[in-house]
């Protein structure tokens, strides 16, 4: 089989199948999350959802198989190199990483399979962008023919993948926290704050988690004055109006997808994001508690941050070897530095009274947006030594400048709000 045929096989057979399998797994996961929990809340035996959930896991495993086949055939077609040479391969690898983490870590180790639908959605968005950014399989240009390619890009890819997972947790935390906060505010003042998650109630992890295992049979009667978990779950869902969140998330994604100048991207990515937001809202009762989600987001970010640091250092070593300077404020280097600062800010904000919880999560969201900005915008619009995506399109700097102002304003707003809002009530 020739290399061209292999590349075509990878692109037209394995990749679409992977996409479909992940999409099916995502739908199955959401279905399980949405309907099984209702049954459990009524103390009935879970029924349909479990079987669908197993099917979802099977789809995920099969999707990982075809994805691996796609990556390997692509690598062979490109002359046996590491398949991280352009944005198509990189995005595809990130999607693979997200699904692998979902299956092995989130499902296997953390025992949180209910979150996998959202992670699969993240992987699908990544893979969608890979499709849009397709580049033919070719050997690497000389500047990339080095071991540092493997070390630098691999660690950057792994860090970005884990940051995607962290972002999913952060987003879920924000919506769950909003619901918990609203429900708490309807309760009598002496209970206020006790249900509010995250750093405000250390040691209270899962105390108010209706999805927690059966070892907490008493539910919420004592604490919250609500009849049972089912009612609490309903209250959580009723407390949040999904429409503004869906509109906001969709608008943001549309604005982002417009930059690709690709109708498919502009239609599919916002639709996926909107589906994720609706799913998050509908499954609010079944989501882990805000405290748990916040803790998951923090742990995930703290895990990825040293990897990002190592990746940036490895990049500097490579730059010294390849271009004769370790740091030149090339747009991509500047962007990586930017994302690093933002995540450092997130880690620090977690330790700052008044910024924990929502404030930190806001900074986490901004950090992720900056990471994606570095990945997409710098690669696609801004020409520099790192622009590996192919032909750079026109450079719309005003979007970036406006973005800079918006990001700074967001950080200011988050910090100011948290400052006047020490208990987050």
């Amino acid at each position: 089989m020739t290399e061209t045929q292999l590349a075509e096989l990878s692109r037209t057979l394995f990749f679409p199948w992977t996409f479909l399998l992940y999409a099916a797994a995502m739908v199955a996961s959401f279905y399980r999350l949405a309907f099984t929990q209702v049954d459990r809340a009524r103390d009935e035996r879970p029924r349909a959802g479990v079987a669908v959930g197993r099917l979802g896991v099977a789809f995920t495993v099969a999707g990982l198989g075809t994805h691996l086949a796609s990556i390997v055939t692509r690598s062979i077609a490109a002359g046996g190199r590491v398949p991280l040479g352009n944005m198509y391969e990189y995005s595809s690898a990130m999607g693979f990483g997200v699904v692998l983490i979902a299956l092995v870590v989130v499902h296997g180790r953390l025992r949180r399979p209910e979150l996998n639908g959202f992670l699969l959605m993240g992987a699908l968005v990544m893979m969608g962008s890979a499709l849009v950014l397709y580049a033919p399989a070719e050997p690497l240009m000389p500047a990339l023919q080095t071991h540092w390619l493997k070390i630098h890009t691999f660690s950057m890819m792994i860090a970005s993948t884990i940051f995607i997972v962290a972002f999913v947790f952060t987003g879920l935390y924000l919506i769950r926290d909003l619901a918990e906060r609203r429900v708490a505010s309807t309760l009598d003042a002496s209970h206020r704050g006790s249900t509010v998650g995250a750093a405000y109630a250390p040691g209270a992890l899962d105390e108010h988690d209706p999805a927690a295992p059966e070892d907490r049979p008493e539910g919420y009667e004592d604490d919250a004055g609500l009849a049972d978990r089912h009612l609490y779950g309903r209250a959580l869902r009723d407390a949040v109006n999904p429409v503004p969140i869906v509109i906001g998330a969709t608008a943001l994604t549309v604005a982002y997808a417009l930059l690709f100048n690709n109708p498919v991207a502009t239609a599919v990515a916002p639709a996926l994001i909107a589906l994720g937001v609706v799913a998050a809202w509908w499954t609010l009762p079944a989501l882990p508690s805000a405290a748990t989600l916040d803790s998951l987001a923090y742990r995930t970010t703290a895990f990825a941050f040293p990897i990002l640091t190592f990746g940036v250092i490895a990049g500097a070593v490579w730059a010294e070897q390849s271009w004769g300077r370790y740091w030149g404020w090339d747009p991509k280097e500047t962007g990586a530095f930017l994302a690093w600062i933002a995540y450092a800010g997130y880690l620090h904000s977690r330790a700052t009274r008044g910024l924990r919880g929502r404030g930190a999560a806001g900074i986490g969201v901004v950090a992720f947006l900056l990471l994606m900005f570095t990945y997409y915008a710098v690669n696609l619009w801004i020409t520099g030594l790192h622009s590996y995506a192919g032909a750079a399109t026109s450079n719309p700097p005003w979007i970036g400048i406006a973005g800079a102002l918006i990001v700074y304003g967001l950080v200011k707003a988050v910090t100011a709000r948290a400052a006047t809002d020490p208990v987050g009530g």
Binding site: P139, P142, R299, W323, R325, L338, R350, P397
Partner: protein
């Protein structure tokens, strides 16, 4: 400053210099300030990402200012006014950086002191009520309390817990004077840690008031702690590494040398002296005699492409004559720079070099290699300036490396980057070359010139101009751009980066946890109460605590489990205990 208390509470209306410095220092010590400074640094960096930077792409900046590219002339000028084209060299950026480092220093100084105290005298506080700790377990054992607690101390020490040295022995529970003194000692360290720890991502939760230490322990208690040194120590190493980075960058700027020069294959190369480079950037402490003085000639340059014209190989064979007369042949490819007498030689770029001879009668007005630059689409551009003839002559050159003749006999450029059928197009201008203006070596300022003629040449051919002069395309070779540099602080920077990582990992993953054990003798048997609390990473401790309890149980309960063996092999149980 000697004002009475009421005035101090409000502060003077117009703060004096001392008050200003003190309040600035206080402001800088706040974590929130550090976060704002980080956010400002992020915003500045984002600006530098989206706005072209003069040190990187000076041409694009010029185009923005011209209005030929970018957002338009007025916004471009506004950006220029705030220094947005060289963010990292702008004065306000230096101020920001200075504020960040001052903030870092103000946070670190108390933390160093607290850490020093922690290392020297720090000991875990007692717990007043074990039952109220997040993790509690009980173990029943036949051993007497004192013996059991000794075993507990042994197990915890083996698990690298640091014990409270003045654990009250079972028969002396009343605190002595010294006990009370050291009992207070950790308090300032803990307080400082809770404030300064904020800078390190430490989630601090107070465990009992420091005053609890003063309380008379009701029962003998073992208090143990682990992770308190590695986490804070890692964080301090991480933050301290930034000073090393700063020193490395600043000293590097002062002592570095970077020079770039292009040499044509087969032609005499260059000698490493201060005058040899086209472009050079020498630090203030770099002297002319710091050059190594070697000579470098390019014997051969190889470049190859895939079928899609993507380059796959750049290789230069060079000959180096050292200052002491030794000669050696070396080969360099991208990513494999040469190191010659302590100077690094990188191959940075390449281009076509056309030898163009302009003759006016018997006079040679120009004879030299034109180092052409790529303009995209497989076209290369250059310029010839011949000021020696009257009127002055300038040539605009465009090279098509592969332009074979088509069916009608006219050359057709294929866009292929290799020089298979090179064609040099020239436009001749006559008039004033405007040497009074700054212009690029491959640019021609034609504002004071008129076009004479244009045409195309194959290598080895020449053409006659209307003035009677001739233009000859004598030869086509390639030139390679080398960068010669010396950065004495690179090892320091690498060490700082390594320290950054080495500190970051314990700062994020190590976690401070405390374990307390008490023993109570009830009816001839001893009940051991184990309590634990993690100040960070509660999930990790949730997994660790049962293993600690299990290790203690193995050590304390073998008799209960076996009943038969009153004399268990202590070594065997130790092996199980210590991983």
């Amino acid at each position: 400053m000697t004002e009475p208390a009421p005035a101090r509470a409000r502060g003077p209306l117009i703060p004096g210099p001392v008050e200003t410095v003190v309040s600035l220092w206080r402001w800088l010590r706040r974590m929130r300030t550090a976060l704002h400074l980080l956010a400002a640094l992020g915003a500045a960096t984002l600006l530098a990402t989206v706005v072209p930077q003069r040190p990187n792409v000076a041409d694009t900046v010029a185009q923005w200012l011209d209005g030929t590219a970018g957002p338009g002339q007025l916004p471009a000028r506004l950006l220029d006014a705030v220094g947005a084209y060289d963010v990292f060299g702008a004065p306000w950026f230096l101020v920001l950086l200075a504020l960040l480092f001052t903030s870092l220093t103000s946070c670190l100084i108390p933390r160093y002191r607290a850490y020093w105290r922690l290392v020297r005298r720090g000991r875990p506080p007692r717990s007043r009520n074990l039952a109220r700790q997040p993790h509690v377990a009980t173990i029943d054992t036949d051993q007497p309390a004192a013996e059991a607690l000794a075993a507990v101390r042994d197990v915890l020490t083996r698990r690298r817990f640091r014990l409270r040295a003045d654990d009250a022995p079972p028969d002396a529970v009343v605190p002595t004077r010294s006990d009370a003194r050291v009992g207070v000692a950790p308090a300032p360290a803990d307080l400082a840690d809770s404030r300064a720890g904020a800078h390190a991502g430490v989630e601090h939760a107070a465990v009992g008031a420091p005053g609890a230490d003063l309380a008379t322990p009701a029962r003998p208690q073992v208090a143990a702690e682990r992770g308190h040194l590695s986490r804070e120590g890692g964080s301090l190493v991480f933050h301290t590494a930034f000073y090393l980075l700063l020193i490395g960058v600043v000293v590097g700027k002062l002592t570095t040398f970077t020079g770039q020069v292009g040499i044509v294959e087969g032609e005499p190369g260059f000698t490493d002296t201060s005058v040899a480079y086209w472009v050079k950037d020498a630090g203030r402490w770099w002297g002319a005699d710091d050059h190594a003085g070697f000579q470098l000639d390019l014997d051969r340059f190889d470049v190859d492409w895939t079928g899609a014209a993507q380059p796959v190989l750049f290789r230069s064979d060079v000959r180096i004559r050292h200052a002491d007369g030794r000669t050696q042949q070396r080969t360099t490819v991208i990513n494999d720079p040469l190191v010659v007498d302590g100077m690094k030689v990188h191959m940075l770029d390449w281009g076509y070099a056309a030898r163009v001879i302009v003759r006016d009668g018997d006079d040679v007005a120009h004879d030299g290699w034109i180092h052409m630059t790529a303009v995209g689409g497989g076209v290369w551009r250059g310029a010839v300036k011949a000021p020696g003839v009257q009127p002055q002559i300038g040539l605009e050159l465009h090279l098509f490396p592969d332009a074979p003749e088509g069916p009608d006999g006219r050359p057709v450029p294929t866009g292929w980057p290799g020089a298979r059928a090179p064609l040099l197009l020239y436009t001749v201008w006559a008039g004033d070359l405007r040497f009074d203006r700054v212009q690029g070596v491959n640019d021609l300022d034609t504002t004071a010139m008129r076009e004479l003629s244009h045409g195309g040449l194959r290598p080895g051919f020449q053409a006659e101009l209307p003035t009677g002069a001739t233009v000859a395309f004598a030869d086509l070779r390639r030139w390679v751009g080398f960068q010669v540099s010396r950065r004495p602080t690179d090892p320091l920077l690498l060490a700082a980066a390594a320290l950054l990582l080495v500190g970051l990992i314990p700062a994020l993953y190590a976690y401070r946890r405390r374990v307390w054990v008490e023993a109570a003798e009830i009816d001839g048997s001893t009940r051991i109460i184990v309590a634990g609390h993690a100040l960070q990473r509660p999930q990790a401790f949730e997994e660790e605590f049962p293993t600690i309890v299990a290790a203690l149980r193995r050590r304390l309960e073998p008799d209960r489990a076996g009943r038969s063996g009153r004399d268990p092999d202590p070594d065997a149980s130790r092996e199980v205990v210590s991983p």
